[in-house]
């Protein structure tokens, strides 16, 4: 059995995340994103690779799992369900389900509006698509069908982001989506159980960077903003409506509260029908998905009730005095461009770039620009940029340490890296393979990987067998203190080592019975086997009637001889439990007693029928104790005169 992993997107790349994993015959699509960098068919994952012959995706996939609402993880979903016709189950968390339509609608307007011929899906398509979605809660175990089980874990990247665990039969895996291993202002850190996994597919956006404390970076951001407004400047923060906007808003609102700043903070409300305000409404009811700190303060005040934030009216663009404005979209176009055009020429103002900016966008141009400068706008208009430009340095993605921590914690049998840049992935792969000794891969798009998976064989076990497994099996190891001091002079170390060490080594021993009829298996103890197979016990035994030299045997009684023999054996074998009862000596399965028969069938020295000063001792043992038995016999044979005298 193997896990088959087909990477449709985000293989050695960031954008259009989409991985198809086939575990024990069940295919799962993890994420269904678009690539914002492309405008043509490369925007979507190549779905045709999913089902080679038939075009029926509903049949070839068991379910789709969406990790969070970012477009590079969900963007192609309406296209896949409404245009490609996938009709099966789709799973995502509650916040993702609530916020995804806003994201998708925003994107649709931005990309397709006014370009009818290119239109891939409509508002109705988004609504229809979302109707097919089953919302899940964290840690909820969902039985997709009889064999496939999935479960979401908190990922911390954006509100509602989740890592997904999937299990089919005995094979299990985790797809992380995007995650953050450190808590930020409004979200907690990723959290997952220790699981038995064959495979972990993890993002690797920051595969090689190590970041210092978030708070340092937050302070830096606040300082820049504060300086700007203190100098009477205006701060423009072009951002996506969801996630980053709320986080920055929280930071600013908090700071405003503490420093008693009165400068207004605005949310742009016009261009995208108050998307952010709408999003804030959702954040308020989704407070359980934020960080513990936010939740704790909730009873007194909803932290998403921003005290110093109000909505922006277009007329305020020209209003004098300092202010902070959040405007969509992040890459500076549409409304944020309108504002930018007006504010950029003033050197007191500040533009804060919040995230990834696609090539060709004004955002990208500003990233490399050094004001004062001139940049070319879309319509070949030159714009003087004299304002300051600040790039946010914190990100909701985990850094390399976080990835390593997660992989180490989960200790899967294999790791696949996606959602990152190839050179960085290669470096991380080497570290994972050398430090953690876990095989690691970084497939490119459209590559398929085969990974072996664990399998277990089902059987039923009898109560007696389970009982026997629970029997403790202690081992006592004596450590010689003298020896220790010779080997190790460190006196501290010596004191720590107790003289007697106890270790427990339980062993399960039994018999596995397989019925040929229906291949059903059953595990029983040895004793039960007889009942199960319905035969009698046949035991193999060895016997030997051993002659022992014993002077004056006629004059002495047998019991005294017994005592001598017993004493001798006890001295020779101090470890063994030697029982002496009713003229019979027992050591494990070894049984020995005097033989008074004249012709014992187990006697080998038949020629001397009755040798003087010799008695016969008849011994029997089973196969397992053969070695022991011969040692005992040789001890008896060598019974010396001295032994006799002692008694």
């Amino acid at each position: 059995m193997a896990i088959e992993c087909l990477v449709l997107g985000a293989g050695q790349d960031v954008g259009k995340s989409c991985v198809i994993v086939k575990i024990n015959g069940k295919s799962i699509m993890f994420d269904c994103g678009i690539h914002t960098g492309y405008q043509d068919h490369r925007r979507y994952p190549d779905f045709s690779l999913i089902s080679a012959n038939s075009g029926d995706f509903t049949d070839s996939l068991s379910c789709i799992i969406i990790t969070h609402f970012h477009l590079d993880h969900i963007g192609a979903l309406p296209y896949f369900t409404q245009v490609c016709g996938y009709n099966g189950p789709i799973y995502m968390t509650y916040p993702t389900k609530a916020l995804a339509p806003i994201m998708l609608e925003d994107y649709r307007k931005l990309i397709f509006e006014g370009r009818e011929e290119e239109k891939q899906f409509s508002s109705e398509d988004i609504a229809e698509c979302m109707k097919k979605v089953t919302a899940v809660d964290l840690k909820q175990t969902i039985q997709v069908d009889k064999d496939l089980q999935i479960r979401a874990y908190y990922a911390g990247h954006v509100i509602g982001a989740a890592m997904f665990y999937a299990k089919v039969g005995d094979s299990a895996m985790v797809y992380t989506g995007d995650y953050n291993m450190t808590a930020d202002r409004h979200l907690g850190a990723a959290q997952i159980d220790r699981l038995q996994l064959d495979l972990v597919i993890t993002e690797s956006t920051y595969a090689t960077s190590y970041r210092d404390s978030k708070y340092v970076r937050e302070r830096e951001f606040l300082k820049v903003v504060h300086n700007c407004v203190a100098g009477g400047g205006k701060v423009l923060i072009p951002t996506f409506a969801l996630g980053r906007a709320q986080e920055l808003c929280m930071i600013l609102d908090d700071y405003w509260e503490k420093t008693n700043l009165k400068v207004p903070i605005y949310f742009s409300a016009d261009s995208f029908s108050g998307l952010t305000l709408q999003a804030n409404m959702y954040y308020k009811i989704l407070i359980n998905w934020t960080s513990q700190k936010v939740k704790d303060t909730y009873t007194t005040r909803n932290p998403f009730d921003f005290k110093n934030v109000c909505s922006f009216d277009r007329s305020l663009i020209h209003a004098p005095g300092p202010c902070v404005l959040f405007a969509t979209p992040a890459m500076i176009s549409g409304f944020s461009l309108d504002v930018f055009k007006l504010w950029a020429p003033d050197e007191r103002n500040l533009v804060t770039l919040t995230g990834y900016c696609g090539s060709g966008t004004i955002g990208r141009k500003l990233m490399v620009a050094k004001p004062p400068t001139r940049i070319t706008l879309d319509d070949n208009v030159q714009l003087d940029v004299r304002c300051q430009i600040y790039q946010l340095s914190f990100s909701p993605h985990t850094d390399a340490k976080g990835i390593m921590d997660l992989v180490k914690f989960l200790s899967p049998k294999h790791v696949i890296l996606v959602h990152g840049e190839k050179p960085k992935m290669v470096k991380l792969k080497e570290i994972i393979e050398s430090e953690l000794e876990i095989p690691c891969y970084h497939p490119a798009n459209h590559e398929t990987l085969h990974i072996p998976s664990t399998r277990r064989i089902e059987a039923s076990a009898s109560d007696a067998f389970l009982q026997s497994c629970l029997c403790p099996n202690f081992k006592f190891l004596k450590t010689d203190p003298r020896q220790d001091s010779e080997l190790d002079d460190d006196s501290n170390n010596k004191r720590k080592m107790p003289q007697l060490q106890v270790c427990e080594n339980r062993v399960a021993q039994g018999l596995l019975i397989t019925l040929q009829k229906n291949q059903s298996r059953k595990v029983v103890t040895e004793n039960e086997l007889i009942d199960t197979i319905g035969t009698e016990i046949h035991e193999e035994k060895f016997a030997y009637c051993c002659p022992i030299y014993f002077p004056n045997s006629e004059s002495r009684d047998i019991s005294s001889f017994h005592l001598i023999l017993f004493g001798k054996l006890s001295r020779e074998f101090p470890d063994l439990n030697i029982q002496d009862c009713e003229d019979v000596i027992r050591i494990q399965s070894f049984v020995g007693s005097f033989c008074s028969k004249a012709k014992c069938p187990y006697r080998t020295d038949v020629s001397f029928q009755s040798v003087l000063d010799t008695v016969h001792f008849c011994c029997a043992w089973s196969m397992g104790d053969e070695e022991l038995a011969w040692r005992v016999i040789s001890t008896m044979k060598n019974l010396k005169l001295s032994d006799r005298i002692e008694t």
Binding site: Q140, D170, M281, N288
Partner: protein
């Protein structure tokens, strides 16, 4: 496997309590408290004089029941009597299935010997905590009046108890007069806090493992927000504990019966249908009294529709699985509309009374109903264009409504949809939260949340007529006692209570001698479990191997032909141990493939089997037993 019913409970507020012994572990199912027993006590008097006049005219046996016969003392609270007989230290796990099911938990957790793990859903734990805190806060009023309690209060003396009217004795000693036990002084706020520290909270369908052996998951039962049924799996089989469940509730997430499918054993613990049986009888007597405020003091709402639907439902019945499921769903829709109708009726009656100049008092303790009713009332008032304030008075009102707004994952589909589309769930609680959405209509809504009746904000905003939601449904605690005293003489005011409450006894202290209460009372039965017809279909759908029913369903099952079912069944009685055989003789064991591959097996041709000597290490994890390669030295 052994099952013992400690208490059959009494309706919605006092759920049943059982003990289950399974694969060597002892599980306590729910730990409720009988708050209806509070009825034997008198509410806090307004002035201390009546107490003096209340001197016992001794030796008067079986004196008639009136307001003065109620016990004037700091109340004690009745816990599950039979639970006291069990050694607390032997309980390994406590499973809570509803907020009501944890009201007695602090009595248990404050015991030094208590060492069990307590599991509850996140929401049940939170709401339960708020309910307990509210109870402690309300009880404070008694403490302030009577002072600190002594070891053995006067009323608990034998001759004092003996001189009480028979109705009260029945409550104090139990219906069978079995004994006076389980009356405890209330826990403190600190006890509640400590108790909550011991509760492990879960999501619906989250798997949790106890000691590697027991896997337990909670699945929505639909009774109340956060309430659940439990599925317990051990290597020898699975058990589903079905508490009172509602298929299509107004607020809570609906009954997730599909997840309980194919359990080996079902412990059926929904007693609601037994109560419902006599409900129908009562309904028949008064069903023609829909115009209740004309002549009847006591009114029971019934809807003839429900009978019609029931008949339709039965005639649609079919053996086919798909149809079964469909029929349950069909029935659920009716359940939903029926419950909605009840709320609409309460709304329209309330508005009638307000128009007549009276106020409406609603001391209902079901949070799901209250939230939905707040919603409906707000809409109704808006439609009528009436500016009447709605007051919610409770020490936890604000926290509770705020909390209800942030748990859309735990609510019914209709409300979830609303949350996903509009970003809000309830109007209640939004008033204090929504600031940005100033254009929204809810600001118009005059809904106020107050912690207590004497809070300054309430006094300044107070205006009559008004609608008040407040605890406690027992009419012995909380703001309701004061408001009822104020309005009980007003024939234009309306009191809305549940059918489950013994109205006669509950309202006794508010009826002055020989004068009937003038205030009108609307008594409404809310759905609080699986109806008998549906339980039959449900069990067919769940395909268990064995079902354990309460004894009182024996007769019904006989009539309903449960004898022809695919599963075996047995019955349980209070305080009687029932032995339930495991359906599998052997436990399941997974053997690692590597281990099997290296086995050398011999074939026994006669027996048609192969045998092999097996040696490995047994691991017990997540309720699965696995045999892996041992580290042989």
């Amino acid at each position: 496997m052994e099952f013992t019913c400690l208490s059959e409970g009494k309706g919605f507020y006092y759920p049943p309590c059982h003990i289950l012994d399974i694969s060597g572990f002892r599980i306590l199912l729910d730990c409720p408290m009988d708050l209806s027993s509070l009825l034997v006590f008198s509410p806090v008097p307004i002035d201390p004089n009546p107490i003096i006049s209340n001197e016992k005219t001794s030796l008067k046996i079986d004196k008639p029941l009136d307001a003065s016969s109620l016990i004037c003392a700091q109340p004690r609270y009745r816990t599950v009597k039979n639970l006291i007989l069990w050694d607390v230290s032997f309980i390994d796990v406590v499973l809570i299935s509803s907020p009501m099911g944890m009201m007695g938990l602090p009595f248990l957790t404050r015991n030094k010997d208590f060492s069990a793990k307590v599991y509850a859903t996140e929401v049940a734990a939170r709401i339960g905590q708020l309910m307990m805190e509210d109870l402690v806060a309300m009880h404070k009023e008694y403490r302030q009046f009577y002072g600190p309690e002594y070891d053995s209060p006067e009323w608990m003396k034998w001759d004092e108890l003996d001189s009480l009217p028979i109705e009260l004795k029945q409550i104090l000693f139990g219906a069978d007069g079995a004994g006076f036990a389980g009356w405890m002084p209330l826990y403190s706020a600190a006890d509640v806090k400590d108790c909550m520290l011991k509760v492990e909270s879960l999501k619906y369908a989250e798997e949790t493992c106890y000691n590697g052996t027991l896997m337990m998951s909670a699945f929505s039962s639909g009774l109340e927000i956060g309430s659940c049924n439990w599925k317990i799996t051990c290597p020898k089989g699975s058990v589903a504990y079905i508490s009172s469940s509602v298929f299509s509730p107004l607020t809570a997430m609906s009954f997730d019966y599909k997840s309980l499918q194919r359990s080996d054993v079902i412990l059926y613990s929904d007693f609601s249908s037994c109560n419902a049986a006599d409900n129908f009888e009562a309904d028949n007597n008064v069903s023609n009294s829909r115009c209740f405020y004309m002549s009847f003091d006591w009114f029971i709402m019934s809807s003839l529709l429900s009978f019609l639907f029931t008949f339709l439902f039965i005639s649609h019945y079919s053996d086919d699985d798909v149809n079964l499921e469909a029929s349950i769903k069909l029935g659920s829709v009716d359940e939903y509309t029926e419950e909605m109708e009840k709320l609409n009726f309460i709304c329209s009656s309330s508005i009638d009374f307000i128009k007549a100049g009276g106020s409406v008092l609603i001391p209902i303790g079901r949070h799901g109903i209250v939230l939905q009713l707040l919603e409906q009332l707000a809409v109704a008032l808006e439609n009528e264009n009436m500016k009447v304030p709605i007051f919610v008075v409770s020490s936890v009102a604000e926290e509770l409504t705020a909390y209800a707004n942030i748990i859309p994952e735990w609510l019914c589909e209709q409300l979830q949809d609303r949350a996903v589309r509009g970003g809000q769930t309830f109007k209640a609680g939004q008033t204090s939260m929504a600031k940005i959405g100033k254009n929204r209509q809810q600001i118009e809504l005059m809904m106020y949340l107050f912690p207590a009746i004497h809070s300054l904000k309430l006094l300044t905003n107070w205006q009559e007529p008004c609608i008040v939601f407040c605890p406690h449904w027992s009419f012995r605690l909380g703001p309701v006692t004061h408001l009822l005293r104020r309005w009980c003489g007003d024939p234009n005011s309306l009191l809305v209570i549940e059918k489950e409450v013994d109205a006669g006894l509950a309202l006794l202290p508010f009826k002055p001698m020989e004068i009937d209460m003038k205030m009108k009372v609307l008594q409404c039965p809310f759905l609080s479990g699986i109806t008998l017809q549906k339980s039959h279909q449900l069990l067919k759908l769940l395909q268990p191997k064995h079902v354990v029913f309460p004894e009182i369903l024996r007769q019904h099952n006989k009539n309903n032909g449960h004898s022809e079912t695919s599963f075996s069944f047995s019955y349980y009685k209070e305080n009687e141990k029932v032995h339930i055989p495991y359906t599998k003789k052997d436990s399941e064991l997974d053997i690692a493939e590597e281990l099997v591959n290296q086995l050398q097996s011999a074939t026994l041709t006669k027996q048609e089997m192969t045998i092999a000597r097996l040696r490995g290490e047994l691991v017990l994890e997540q309720g699965r037993q696995r045999l892996i390669l041992g580290n042989d030295e």
